[in-house]
Amino acid sequence: MCGIVGLYLKTPDLEPELGRLTALMLHEMSSRGPDSAGFAVYGAANGVTKVSTLSRTGATDWKHLEHQLEHVLGADVAVETLSDHAIFSTTGNGQTARNWLIENAPDVSVLAVGSSIELFKGIGDPDAVAERLRLAGRTGTHAVAHTRMATESAVTTEGSHPFSTGADTCLVHNGSLSNHNRLRENLRKRGETFQTENDSEVAAGYLAWRMREGDTIEAAIEGALRDFDGFYTFAIGTRDGFAVVRDPIACKPAVIAETDDWVAMSSEFRAIARLPGVEHAEIWEPEPGRIYSWSHAA
């Protein structure tokens, strides 16, 4: 069992509240996933690429990595650290930074790369993770978050959600995939890089691969509905959008609520119950195998 939540704002007025509201939702899903938690927050792009990273040892020399990345990218790099996380900001190529870190910094996990995404995760009580990584104070346009009860792989920080392998695209997953080993091998042959043995990372890699090949997020998810074998409810974040999909058998729960100001999804309604204006929301259970998506780009 896991808990997933997503909050997508339709009005800029609520952007200062994004982190606080996401933390409220995450708290309500703690009982579904008490062993670890994580969140991705999307904010306005400001011309730099951000690389969200995590130290596996807690003893990473971030300043040293900052200098090395400047050399590798031939561009300015700035690093900002928080607990065992660090965000590198650069005008250089984020994908090059990701690949270099994965190959050359074995004590670092690359959590996400993109112009608007920042991603954080940790093991332990979800409220404590949110507190330590300062979720409540964050601003932005949309967020997805996850509380984990591990089934397919160990309780580790790297195994916590969200997972991201492609620029600005991440997902949170409730369920389990049966064919992730074969999918992972196929995706590796197509150039995807994986950092864990986790089934949900494979799902993120699949979407990244499809979108790199030119798919829209909706087309990438249609491919996933064909190619994934297993149980899943996914909440997916992209640079300017948000999507929800459940497998055709729909064993894993999901509820969506929408007002003029926001779209929220969660495993259970109680995570949505505390959002402002929920009494006027349209509330429904997403149908099996149907893709729901919202975008600021359209």
Partner: protein
């Protein structure tokens, strides 16, 4: 615990859920209103007396589970397993219900005014379920006894591996499950359907429905045992 015939408000914003449930479980009569449910699970479960409970808002999982005698109304949506294993009484949801509504219910009447998602009436054992909207896939799976009435459409694999539950659907059926077939509507079926629709407060004519049930090829049914169902 003293009870009163006046309507008693139980507010989950200030009361512990177990205290709310305990108050309801110990009451022998009276009307109760549960405020600020906020999607909490297992509200109004295990009631055993003919009390009247109104939940003002959306309920979480297993609301009104194992109900006996009580009349529970959810003024909103209900999560997974509303009225699961109900024995008697009435449960009404004015909005939608999630998966497995009325699962394994032995008796009583469950009315969903909106839609339900998958597996409505799964393994039903005598409960009557009336749905004003549509139901999701795999509904009435292994239904043993009772009636499921759907004013809207039914999703895929309706009545898969069904025993002797009787299904009435007014709209389209996406597909029938294994051993479930359409059956002729006879006078007795129209009569029981009309009675169920009236009790559920649904405005629909019995002639507008089609009946579905077991082809009796998947289990060892013997006509001499019909009285046992």
């Amino acid at each position: 615990m003293t009870t009163t015939l006046a309507n008693t408000g139980l507010d989950l914003a200030t009361m512990d859920r177990r205290a709310v449930n305990q108050t309801l479980q110990e009451a022998e009569r009276g009307d109760f209103t549960v405020l600020n449910p906020g999607g909490a699970h297992a509200l109004a479960c295990g009631l055993k007396s003919p009390i009247d409970v109104t939940i003002k808002g959306h309920a979480g999982y297993y609301c009104a589970g194992m109900n006996q005698e009580a009349a529970v109304t959810v003024e909103g949506n209900a999560g997974t397993g509303v009225a699961e294993n109900m024995m008697s009484g009435t449960v009404r949801v004015t909005g939608d219900a999630s998966q497995s509504a009325g699962a394994t219910g032995h008796g009583g009447l469950l009315v969903i005014e909106g839609n339900t998602s998958a597996r409505c009436g799964i393994s039903m054992k005598g409960i009557d379920i009336v749905v004003g909207g549509s139901i999701g896939h795999m509904s009435a799976f292994m239904g043993q006894a009772g009636r499921l009435v759907v004013l809207g459409d039914a999703g895929a694999d309706l009545g898969d591996s069904i025993y002797e539950a009787r299904l009435y659907v007014r709209g389209k059926v996406a597909s029938l499950g294994a051993d479930c077939i359409e059956k002729e509507m006879q006078g007795e079926h129209r009569a029981e359907l009309a009675e169920l629709l009236a009790r559920a407060g649904m405005d629909a004519g019995a002639d507008e429905f089609r009946r579905y049930g077991s082809a009796r090829k998947l289990y060892h049914f013997h006509i001499d045992n019909i009285g046992a169902y």
